[in-house]
């Protein structure tokens, strides 16, 4: 019964609208026209052959892998390095967390200026140190656009993941470390054999958060490239948004949303399995 209030609110504001969306994915309809025509699986058949969906799926995959690779180790490093109660560490943590409290629109603008090919600081930097060959169009280059935005996202969220890992780190009793120190274990061994195993659960939770965040990433991409150039940085969420609100193909957009939901379910099942195993072992 403790779960009930949360579940009711959740079902009311999320599950119900979501089911609604899934039902609508079987139709072809416009937000501006009350007439809906039944398509059955038609939207999904079209999606299956849709080259843009393929680009979006590959990009989302790239987002997941690179975000995990960039954010998790860096967040762990920060949590270990400046996780203490020292005043200066507290100050530093605040600094690392600060990118998160800047609105996405502003973050996008600032980094757009940084990457800007003509006036931007990045190209200016390369030119100043004689690496003219390294200058590029960055966000305007289809091969680099996604990577550039992933870096911004990592910059923005690493501090947050540091906080989560820190919460887990603090749950580890001090005396375990004390014992390790007396045994003369090196810092690396202590981390690998004590800290990491004890933090496994919170690391998994954090990895799930990063994965999930990477699947539904939207605002930074929308602000910085709108999924361009020529769809090169398109992901599921931007593709869905464009399909719904620019192309006005609501049914097709609902089908894309459903694909995203299926991906969530898979990620969640994997997570529940992994943690379930944990509990069984414990």
């Amino acid at each position: 019964m403790l779960v009930l209030p949360a579940a009711v609110v959740f079902a009311f504001y999320i599950t119900y609208p979501l089911l609604h969306t899934i039902v609508l994915s079987a139709y072809s309809w416009s937000a501006l026209n009350p007439v809906r025509t039944w398509q059955g699986m038609g939207n999904y058949v079209e999606l299956y052959h849709d080259p843009v969906l393929r680009v979006a799926l590959i990009n989302n995959g790239l987002w997941i892998v690179l975000s995990l690779v960039l954010q998790l180790p860096l967040a762990m490093l920060l949590a270990l390095g400046i996780g203490s109660a020292l005043r200066r560490h507290r100050m530093l943590r605040t600094l690392f967390f600060s990118p998160l409290i800047v609105p996405a629109v502003a973050v996008g603008l600032i980094w757009q200026l940084f990457y800007e090919p003509n006036f931007g600081a990045l190209n200016a930097l390369f030119e100043a140190i004689g690496l003219d060959g390294w200058t590029a169009g960055w966000l305007g280059d289809p091969k680099l656009a996604t990577l550039c935005i992933i870096i911004v996202s990592s910059w923005r969220y690493t501090g947050f993941h540091m906080m989560i890992l820190l919460a887990g780190l603090q749950a580890i009793p001090d005396d375990i470390y004390e014992a390790a120190r007396i045994d003369g274990a090196s810092a690396w061994r202590t981390f690998w054999h004590i800290t990491l195993p004890l933090m496994k659960r919170i690391v998994l939770v954090d990895a799930l958060l990063i994965t999930v965040g990477s699947v539904k990433i939207f605002d930074l991409i929308w602000v910085m490239t709108e999924g361009g150039p020529n769809r090169a940085s398109e992901v599921l969420a931007t593709y869905m948004y464009r399909t719904a609100f620019s192309d006005d193909r609501m049914g097709y957009a609902a089908a894309i949303a459903t694909v995203m939901l299926v991906l969530t379910l898979i990620a969640t099942v994997i997570y529940v399995r992994l943690t379930g195993q944990e509990e069984a072992e414990a």
Partner: protein, 465 residues
């Protein structure tokens, strides 16, 4: 688990029932409880008006027009809700889709509006325009109303007229002894002359992907003419695009890219930075809309020493083209009334006022933009740039809407993506046309399923040659 789930769904159902049954639904304007007029003559009629004029100076100008209107019509109150333009596109769709649109709202002309008209969301005002010897209709400048007319009914008023031109740096032109080119070949020659290591002939900021499409749009018009474009673009037409002019126009733009006339990485450059390239003399020309007039002249974002060193010329004529080579290119933003409004009469009264010379002059005075009301721009309220622009619009044989506003939305997206890919050279003109044909066939099938041959675009009058 079982009874938990049952309990959960039961309570959700109860909640929903109570909520749905207990409250009056469908408040106009999305739940904002507005005092609607009772039978008594007590409270005023309140109209919701949605606009994209969220930034200054347009915001204040509109507020002032509304205040003047309310003073003259004590029985009507206008509640203006400004939204940032990009966000507006999704916001207006959501509220329209759920059946509670604002009474009066902003539209972009062409297919964007047509889409709303197809779903029966907009109130036709043809009768009102024609009343009193079409006194209202005659007030609207030029032929702009035709882009608000579908199947003989007119669905709103065009208000702002914006056209695209080549803006150029007069000092750079003088330095290289270049005259504003009148033909495409002269234009190409000018580009070659103007090019220097530190000066790009043209600034292009294509991160939003429609600026590059303007070139293609203009070239198509010059090559094939407006009438053919309008009938080829009709989503219910054959969609064959078999005129070689389509591929040729795209190829001409690609050749321009290969000639190296643009700044570095146009697809990574924002429109604002392209403008900055232009006013820092890093680019000699900038193809942009008259919306940038204010940024370039006195009081604008450009540095003071730039204010008097620019001018503009129309898109060059293409030798051997079938279209009107003097045509301008532009759009006409305006306002429409929702077909669901509870107060059509009051809404029309306001629209009429918005379209009056008095309101238009006030807007011109404050915003220095061209309002489509005859007599709105005068020597008293406008500067030399605006006056010249207004005269150009008046003299233009026709003003052709950009291709992305004439094409069905999703087909337009295919063209825009194609132009962006053309800038980087990862697609051929033929492939772009194939993609457009495929998308349009899809759209046609969908529109036919909805059943309605009445969605045909009204073909505008013949383009005078």
């Amino acid at each position: 688990m079982r009874h938990l789930t049952v309990a959960l769904w039961a309570s959700a159902a109860i909640l929903a029932t109570v909520a749905l049954g207990g409250c009056p639904s469908g408040q106009p304007g999305g739940g904002a409880v507005t005092p609607t007029t009772g039978e008594s003559a007590g409270p005023a009629v309140e109209l919701q008006m949605w606009t994209i004029w969220s930034a200054e100076p347009r915001k204040s100008a509109l507020d002032q027009i509304v205040a003047n209107f309310e003073a003259a019509h004590p029985g009507i109150r206008i509640n203006v809700v400004p939204t940032e333009p990009d966000a507006y596109k999704s916001r207006i769709r959501v509220v329209t889709g759920s059946g509670s649109p604002p009474d009066i709202f902003f539209v972009w002309s062409g297919e964007w509006l047509h889409n709303f008209v197809r779903g029966d969301n907009v109130l036709p005002i043809t009768a009102e325009l024609d009343a009193n010897n079409s006194e209202w209709r005659d007030r609207v400048m030029g032929d702009a109303l035709k882009w608000y007319t579908f199947d003989g009914e007119t669905y709103g008023i065009p208000f702002l007229r914006q056209c695209t031109f080549f803006f150029y740096n007069t000092q750079l032109f003088e330095r290289d002894n270049v005259q504003p080119p009148a033909t495409w070949n002269e234009f190409l020659a000018a580009c070659d002359t103007l090019k220097r290591p530190d000066v790009a002939p043209i600034a292009l900021g294509n991160s939003v992907k429609w600026p590059a499409h303007h070139y293609v749009s203009c070239l198509w018009q010059r090559l094939m003419g407006q009438d053919q474009l309008v009938s080829d673009f009709d989503p219910l037409g054959p969609g064959a695009y078999d005129d070689p002019g389509y591929v040729k126009g795209l190829q001409m733009f690609r050749d321009l890219v290969e000639r190296g006339v643009f700044n570095r990485a146009p697809n990574g450059t924002t429109r604002e930075n392209a403008r900055a390239l232009f006013y820092t003399a890093s680019a000699a020309m900038f193809y942009t809309g008259t919306w940038d007039l204010n940024a370039l002249r006195e009081g604008g974002e450009a540095p003071e020493d730039f204010w008097d060193t620019w001018d503009w010329f129309n898109f060059p004529a293409v030798e051997g083209g079938r279209g009107d080579q003097q045509a301008l290119h532009g759009g006409a933003d305006g306002y429409v009334i929702s077909s669901k409004t509870a107060h059509p009469e009051e809404a029309i009264t306001f629209l009429k006022y918005l379209n009056s010379v008095e309101a238009a002059q006030l807007f011109v005075e404050q915003c220095k933009e061209l309002v489509l009301v005859n007599g709105a721009v005068t020597e008293q309220n406008a500067d030399e740039h605006l006056l010249r622009y207004a005269r150009q619009v008046e003299a233009a044989p026709t003003i052709v809407p950009w291709a992305d506003t004439l094409l069905e939305r999703s087909v337009a997206e295919v063209l825009l993506d194609g132009c962006q890919a053309l800038v980087e050279g990862s697609i051929t003109p033929e492939q772009i046309m194939d993609n457009m044909r495929a998308r349009q066939a899809n759209v046609k099938r969908h529109l036919q399923e909805l059943g309605g041959s009445s969605m045909e675009v009204e073909t505008p009058e013949n383009e005078a040659g």
